[in-house]
Amino acid sequence: METIIKIKNLTYDYNQRKHALRGINLNIYKGQKLAVIGSNGAGKSTFFLNINGVLKSDCGEIYYRDELITRRKLNQLRKNVGIVFQDADQQIIASTVMQEVSFGPMNLKLPREEVIQRVEQALAYMNISEYKDRPPHYLSGGEKKRVSIADIIAMKSEVIIFDEPTAGLDPYNTDMLEEVLVKLGHEGKTLLISTHDMNFVYRWADRAIVFCNGQIIADGTPLEVFRNEEVLKRASLKRPTLLDVYDMLIEKKKLCQSDVYPKTTEELYALL
């Protein structure tokens, strides 16, 4: 597999007393669907800002496609790694949807025609073309979220980070978001998502990393992570409901033990 981001011994602190990140080592591969889990304040957001190039630590190294990112090359990272912030209002800077989505491509110093084309594509992708001329303060929470995703799609970055994308969204918008994530996954984008929805992690991710007190304490497939009692306890995580149900069915001999773990209710039904 092709390594897209390589992180070596990354340490970051906001002030001298407390380390937000302590010695992170991680390889992120192209096309991976990576779930980043851990309790509040475990260092997920700080980690994201570091691999996006907004925060720069003096300790540790980050490589983007085998190129060491120095202070001068931070924009290299920002161009190729996009981040959709948790709070859409934190991200939206312009006063119309079109201007907002054009902000990234304009900063990439693309020609005008290219910017227009990218903006229109991104708006169509998120199904918000009709809101083009609306100001963000007349949009609902779900619509703002879509705008903030279109922002990053227009930049065509290879890696997209979603910081708790489902926070504050209603079920309709959560479904919409998941569809977009699947679609982006099919297009070969590398996706990193932090979330507290373990059912989602179990069903969507192909790799999960667990943060606890600024360190990565587990790294593997979601199944491996959720079967590791010690990790679950240390990071105070809940197991996905489906996995619990499946284990109970096996315990009560309703199902025979196999290597196939159902990831959706439909798959479980098929097994039964």
Binding site: N52, D89, P135, Y138
Partner: protein, 296 residues
């Protein structure tokens, strides 16, 4: 607070569900949403009108220059006939072309009425101990005096002020703030001011929303139960807003940087061509006004 959140939430869902419905239905819905927003002070009504104006598609530079020329003519020519023409023409542009309802237009025009009346009253009337004016009103030991020419002068000034206001109202009711900022940028106003205007406009709404949330949560805990408590609560909210602003400005800066911000806010601006009819209308207006001035 909680209730309100649920309400908003419901509205979000309603709005989402609305996406696939016919356009007309949606328009009604968005209007309902507007009243919802408005009642919470999330958006001002002038701002809303500007975004929904039928002449929003006109070239903003054209609108800006046209209304500025109309303003200069109205003040510079100093002629009551020109003032009346300006008021009628601008009313036509706003109401008939722009689609602002007569009531909304009138109430926007009437916003500065108190200032205008207070300002012009002293031109129309005077005080005196003796009844030396054309018309005198006796008030105990003094008279309020006035004359026909004074009253006409006052009327002319009121008309002129209303004419001038109507030009600016026409501009603000048809052109969103961002587009006006875009015009100023083209007119080479310093970048610093342009960017400040853009950001202030965007974050006014964020701040108003934050303030509303804080106020509602204080209200739900009886923070405004009497005058003394209200003062105390308001002070608390004000200082809290300050702290939150400070913290969030850091977050916003991070968000800017993550999208390759390098010290200059760059946005795509749509190009809206000027149509011959619009230019024709503008020229016709200027000719009519100048002709009126010359004739009287």
């Amino acid at each position: 607070m909680k209730n309100n959140k649920i309400d908003r939430h419901k509205d979000d869902i309603n709005k989402e569900a609305c996406v696939h419905e016919p356009a007309q239905h949606r328009a009604e819905h968005s209007h309902r949403l507007f009243t919802h927003h408005h009642s919470h002070g999330e958006g001002s009504s002038i701002d809303y009108q500007a975004y929904h104006s039928k002449i929003r598609g006109w070239n903003p530079t054209f609108k800006f220059l046209f209304t500025c020329i109309a303003l200069i003519l109205c003040i510079g020519l100093d002629n009551p006939y020109v003032s009346v023409t300006t008021i009628v023409a601008m009313g036509f542009v706003s109401i008939v072309l722009g689609g602002v309802s007569f009531h909304d237009y009138l109430s926007t025009m009437m916003l500065p009425i108190t200032f205008i009346l207070l300002g012009t009253l002293m031109i129309g009337i005077d005080f005196s101990l003796t009844p030396k004016g054309e018309y005198n009103f006796h008030f105990g030991f003094f008279y309020i005096i006035t004359s026909k020419s004074r009253l006409l002068h006052m009327g002319a000034i009121i008309l002129k002020v209303f004419g001038a206001i109507s030009t600016m109202i026409t501009l603000t009711l048809s052109t969103p703030a961002t587009e006006i900022v875009g015009v100023l940028r083209k007119l080479k106003v310093p970048k610093l001011i342009i960017e400040l205007m853009n950001m202030i406009y965007r974050y006014i709404f964020v701040m108003m929303d934050t303030y509303r949330q804080m106020k509602e949560s204080a209200e739900s805990r009886l923070g405004f139960v009497d005058y003394k408590t209200s003062l105390h609560t308001f002070a608390g909210i004000a200082s809290n807003i300050f702290v939150v602003t400070l913290k969030r400005s850091g977050d916003y800066y991070n968000a800017l940087e993550s999208r390759c911000y390098e010290g200059e806010l760059l946005f795509l601006e749509e190009e809206k061509p000027i149509k011959a009819v619009q230019a024709g209308f503008a020229v016709l207006y200027v000719v009519v006004v100048l002709a009126l001035w010359w004739a009287t």
